[in-house]
Amino acid sequence: MARLELRKVGKTFNNFEAVKSVDLTIEDREFVVFVGPSGCGKTTLLRMIAGLEDITSGDLYIDGERANAVPPDKRGLAMVFQSYALYPHMTVARNMGFALKMAGVPKAEVEEKVRAAARILQLEPLLDRRPRMLSGGQRQRVAIGRAIVRNPKGFLFDEPLSNLDAALRVQMRIELVKLHQDLAVTMIYVTHDQVEAMTMADRIVVLNQGHIEQVGTPLELYHQPANLFVAGFIGSPKMNFFPSRAVAVGRGDATLELSPNHALSFPVPSGMSPGALAPGASVTLGLRPEHLFLANDGPLSGQVDVVEHLGVETLAYIKAVNGEMITVRADDLSPVAAGDRVSIALHPGRGSLFDAGGKAIFHLSPA
């Protein structure tokens, strides 16, 4: 059991507000990822939950009890550090058993628990090695093992995969998700990498400049971003943004002027409240690369600047007539080449519209 509640939690370092009044509830057994650009306060928030930083304002409740003043080791949470933070002079087994030994647990019991954790993580052949003799992935596993041994009710991960290479990162993130399924405990995971957030989280918390931009499942954030920040942060390549002006708003669609003499008709959901989009309003149309396709005849056009062949798909970066770059995702057999003049069409019923303040007005989703 570990249900965490943050009520108006804030952190100030020397007059700098690193975290601004965060309200968040993390349910028991949830896998929550804090994601955001560097300096957004995600690590500070995690460290406050861990107890490694004092909470400047607000309250933290763990399983209903206020934990602001509870020392880190009494919170029932284990942390896995970005640098792994293994004790370099101890063997893997001693690293994993250190907390129990310090707590006075009998030696036989420590050994048994270490062995059990090592079995889960396939570390058994490495128990007698020193950290420096291990590869990055193995160290990562030992760090997780050290957390498991304490049998915590929650795990805190601080960018644990950022020191691994791309292939290993893919593998480890699958292992972590499986570990979450097996252990059935709460996990909070901090990363700056939106792909990790998307692939691992039950729920993602997007942070920016110390406050929460949006909380939701990966697909909610991808398909219904609350604002331009989330829309631009989640997804790679980035969503295309077209700053435009609503010229006319009808019942089923609106006319958007992307640039002078370049208008576009865009569907409007029937449920939209009448005042949400007024003619003349400045808006931003957001279309992901897969919401666009190369067609013989489309409302947008430009010259292909760069083509990236990824095998399974092709990305075309197109310089539009007005100078903006448009990214289009095409399939792996698309014959597009750099220098081609192309025309771009919109997949119907996809895309988002944002108001002048960056807030989402509506999202179109496939039926």
Binding site: L52, P72, S83, Y87, F98, A99, M102, R150
Partner: protein, 272 residues
């Protein structure tokens, strides 16, 4: 090509400098095995029949063993004292640095910039008034204070090389500051502590100024043994050389046994 030529020149300079620094020692050792007549021969004799008579004479004159014993006790005790004080001080400065930590470090190091001769007077008066002149205690205290800034600085450097994450992980593991010092800092900084202690022992052993000025027959170290050496009559270069070799020999042997470990500690850092 060009690159290599330039560094060849540099390497030669380095070796020459090292040889020049080493040369007096070589000469001293050679002279100690000469007779007094050979010692002053011009041009200097390079080939001669070595004799041990100078050593005999040097040992006969004064209580070599007594001085050596003082040297051992003073250097070990002063080092222990310095490390005991420096360990918690360096811990605080490295892991809980305040606004004034940098100032403190600067201040400690800047006391090394004072000429010892400048504070001879007050130190002498303090020890005279406390009846500690010519005692090992006074030398232990003085040597410990002299070496303290260096030991603090070295320990501080080694502690700073220990990633904070490791201490935070221990904190999460329920290990308090005492446990962290004993189970983590002590073993992790052990090479650094050893380096610092070895250096302090050597510096303390070689310290001549305070030994000469604060001690007499009772608490004198080997440094004073040479300084006070006087020949009853006639030529004394060979005998003085022999006495010097006797004073230097223990620390030279100790130093050559310890130097690799010490220099490794000095150049590589603690936890790499």
């Amino acid at each position: 090509m060009e690159q290599e030529k330039a560094s060849l020149a540099g390497t030669i300079v380095a070796w020459l400098a090292a040889f020049v620094m080493f040369f007096p020692i070589l000469w001293m050792v050679i002279t100690a095995f000469k007779t007094e007549e050979q010692a002053i021969a011009i041009p200097p004799l390079l080939i001669f029949h070595p004799v041990l008579s100078s050593f005999g004479a040097a040992l006969a004159q004064s209580g070599y063993i007594h001085f050596a014993e003082n040297s051992v006790i003073v250097s070990l005790c002063s080092t222990a004292l310095a490390v005991l004080i420096a360990f918690p001080a360096a811990y605080a400065m490295a892991f809980q640095p305040g606004k004034r930590t940098q100032d403190l470090l600067v201040w400690m190091l800047s006391t090394k910039m004072l000429p010892p001769v400048g504070v001879l007077v007050p130190i002498y008066l303090i020890f005279r008034d406390t009846d500690l002149l010519d005692t090992r205690t006074s030398l232990v205290i003085v040597d410990a204070l002299i070496n303290l800034p260096i030991v603090v600085w070295m320990l501080f450097s080694f502690f700073r090389d220990i990633p904070r994450d490791i201490l935070e992980a221990a904190h999460m593991d329920g290990v308090g500051p005492r446990g962290q010092m004993i189970h983590l800092l002590l073993p992790l900084a052990a090479p650094g502590i050893a380096s610092a202690a070895l250096l302090a022992i050597i510096l303390s052993w070689n310290e001549a100024f305070w030994s000469i000025n604060l001690t007499a027959a009772h608490a004198g170290t080997l440094a004073t043994f040479i300084a006070r050496y006087s020949a009853p009559e006639g030529l004394f270069w060979a005998k003085l050389s022999a006495a010097s070799v006797l004073a230097v020999a223990p620390i030279l042997i100790f130093g050559s046994l310890a130097q690799r470990r010490m220099v490794r500690g000095l150049t590589v850092g603690a936890v790499k």
